[in-house]
Symmetry: C2
């Protein structure tokens, strides 16, 4: 049972002494702004908002909180989808907003060293003059710290990997106020335990990332976007498996079902309202681009795709991917009186047809509206279901539970990219078995008073 | 200070009760066979050799050893290069040799589930009928368990990653006898702490891997090997940096200095005795293969390479890579009265010219023979120096220390792929700073009696 100390005025004064008076607030509007993320999870206020300016301040705030038994929840921009940064036990909300600088661009090494509060789209804009980019793209303009803490992934993960695959070194502030460095700028590292990966994906429950050195990729010389429409979901999914097996190293392989494509079409995206694949290939040469597009086209033709178009015009392609990235926001705007529950189970690719069929059956049984949007190339599917009251939310939660358990039965995971946060915590015992005990040991080792983002990842006792 | 219990006859009987009498030996020849790896480190005998047959037996042996405070050192085939499996505190040598089965090939998912004692070359032979392979290739026919425990890497890591980048799930026996599973078969995983990466690279000091699910890659449709010879080391290294920056996704980018190429040439490899790059590209289409080779050739031409040849004949290419893989054995045979000290520092690519120049200067200052062989595309260099007596070994160790500290000063690492074992342990405080304290905490958490592969990774107190 967690037992925390309320944030008294004396604590607020101590915090102000660390970060400066202007970087501490107990104002209601600030507390409200930092009480919710993009998910359906119930908002909860912290007791005080603190904006740290550097790694030492983060460490000093943690040391104080550790000694006084006060919760600390780190905050990027609140773009997460599973309640990950909601300060459900109150205490200190530690915003990394002011730590938003690119420290060093190592262009010749395809690396950047950056502070955690930097939004990744802004960083990629800065990096474009070097012809480089950080490839994981969750869609929303998440911060680097948030992306690493949640091991965020996205549309281009199928080629470039998730956040965890694109990080070399970290600086981390521990609960007790120690500042450590993990990893190095060497691509190859076999020097002891992989502490970098202990903190990546730990959702701020083991330490707070205060600096990161990331692997970058060259902006591809050639890029081609493809859209294929199919008669049925089954055939579209068959195409996914064949394209992945063809040896073409697709840079994006996204699936939309008819309701999802319909909604995007109604908002200006020029696609058919049918099961659709959005694809991209990145190439170093025009010849390989043409060969890749030809292979994908051939597979789609053989499966009698209703349509197939390849787009090389950059502006037109960008508009398509912008629309895909905005899919969630588009749904929200299309159904202004509804809230949305987004699942992100992931399974081995060969099981993708089965999880999609299962989700469709659940949706049919429940008689609910639903949108299937998936990073199909990774076996990741977002079952997105609108709800508006306690009854419909209960129904969605039951479907969520059934779909998560099906994914686990298929050797998959409850969460491919959104992290555990609040909503997936109940499934962790089933996903990890006795491995969860080791995770608890790790948590107790690094955060003995349980101050770091309490209430996340582990189910309540 | 470690305090262990000697292995009494009663313990040998208990071990026999777990694994069967025929799987326990205290015979001198077995103790000798398991007393050394491929490195120069001094051999040391265990007190008893145990061959486990399944995960539960591994767990039961650990539980016994944990309760009785007896060291346990896991053993694959002893192909490591840093003393990693030498049982320097005696106790139990736990061989995984009998656990050498492929459990399941998930061909459609490009995955295999395998036992730790399976040698990777044998596994890749089994997988070839599925058109798949496990890409990290350290050269020697290491076991999967050994590769994962040391985070081994090799010639094709520049494209496909190290062992750590090609593993999805593990079963691990913990010191106290618990058996846990980590990860899942989903490519995307954001469900809590990354325990898989806690154990990968931990050199058997945190737990013993009893099963692994690995990512595989399709055997490339097109493959081309290239050999370029240069006038000077500096120009060869310049070519490495340009080729890496060109966007060509090389599958191998290896550097040999003149002494190294000379030795390989004298043993039948048809190359010039000069600074040489051995390269490979893997492609899905003939068109992209041609374009990649053309780009590499152009860079080498612009740098006035003394020669450039591209080889598409599979047998001829295999002979070249076989010779490269055998380089270490070739050196040993070429200098039968010498032993060899192999370094494996790695640095960011932009610092590669600097570390190579530094190593050459050290070699010149010492007036010693030396061979530079490197996974240049990864910034990894093997400085290989023969020695034959205490005096020359002391000289080599001093050079090793200087080169490691230079690599650290260049934001690199003491070890890119051989692991810490015995030889790199003294450098861990300099490489990790206070991060090493967290590694010690992790060690104490999972192995409170310090029985697992004691004397490795951490410098002696």
């Amino acid at each position: 049972m967690l037992d925390f100390t309320p944030v008294a005025t004396t604590i607020v004064d101590k915090l102000a002494a660390i970060v400066g008076k202007e970087n501490v607030s107990t104002g209601e509007s600030e507390l409200d702004l930092h009480s919710h993320d993009q998910s359906f999870h119930e908002p909860h206020r912290a007791e005080v908002i603190v904006w740290a300016n550097n790694a030492q301040e983060v460490a000093d705030v943690l040391k104080l909180a550790h000694n006084k038994h006060i919760p600390v929840t780190p905050w990027g921009v609140g773009s997460s989808l599973e309640g990950n940064p909601i300060p459900i036990h109150g205490g200190i909300l530690l915003s990394l907003r002011n730590m938003n600088h690119v420290i060093d661009v190592h262009a010749d090494d395809f690396q950047v060293t950056v502070q955690p509060g930097k939004p990744y789209k802004d960083m990629n804009k800065d990096l474009s003059k070097h012809g480089l980019f950080f490839p994981p793209d969750p869609g929303a303009n998440a911060t680097i710290g948030g992306m690493l803490a949640n091991n965020a992934a996205g549309i281009r993960t199928v080629k470039y990997g998730a956040s965890k695959d694109n990080v070399l070194a970290l600086q981390v502030a521990l609960a007790d106020g120690r500042l450590i460095r993990t990893g190095s700028r060497s691509i190859k590292q076999s020097a002891g335990y992989n502490l970098t990966q202990v903190f990546v994906g730990s959702e701020g429950t083991l330490g707070i990332i205060t600096e990161a050195t990331l692997k970058l990729s060259p902006v591809p010389e050639y890029s081609s976007t493809m859209i294929a429409a199919f008669e049925t979901v089954e055939v579209a999914i068959e195409a996914v498996v064949l394209i992945k097996g063809s040896g073409v190293d697709v840079a994006a392989l996204e699936f939309l079902d008819t309701p999802a494509s319909q909604t995007l079409a109604s908002r200006g995206l020029d696609i058919e309202p049918s099961p659709t694949l959005l694809m991209e290939v990145h190439n170093a040469h025009a010849e390989s681009q043409e060969a890749d597009v030809a292979t994908v086209r051939e597979i789609c033709d053989e499966l009698d795709a209703a349509s197939f178009i390849a787009i090389v015009d950059h502006t037109q392609a960008q508009a398509i991917w912008h629309a895909r990235h905005q899919a969630y926001e588009t749904l929200i705007r299309a159904f202004p009186d509804m809230k949305f529950h987004v699942m992100d189970v992931a399974v081995p690719l060969s099981k993708y047809p089965e999880i999609v069929a299962f989700a469709r059956q659940e949706i049919a049984n429940a008689g609910t509206m639903a949108f299937l949007i998936g990073h199909a190339g990774d076996g990741n599917i977002h079952v997105t279901i609108p709800w508006k009251d306690a009854d419909s939310l209960a129904k969605v939660k039951a479907m969520n539970s059934a779909i998560v358990h099906k994914a686990l039965a298929l050797d998959g995971t409850a969460t491919g990219e959104h992290g555990v946060g609040i909503g997936k915590a109940p499934y962790m015992p089933d996903e990890h078995g006795t491995g969860l005990d080791v995770m608890r040991q790790l948590k107790n080792m690094l955060d003995p008073h349980g101050i770091l983002n309490p209430g996340k990842i582990f189910p309540a006792d």
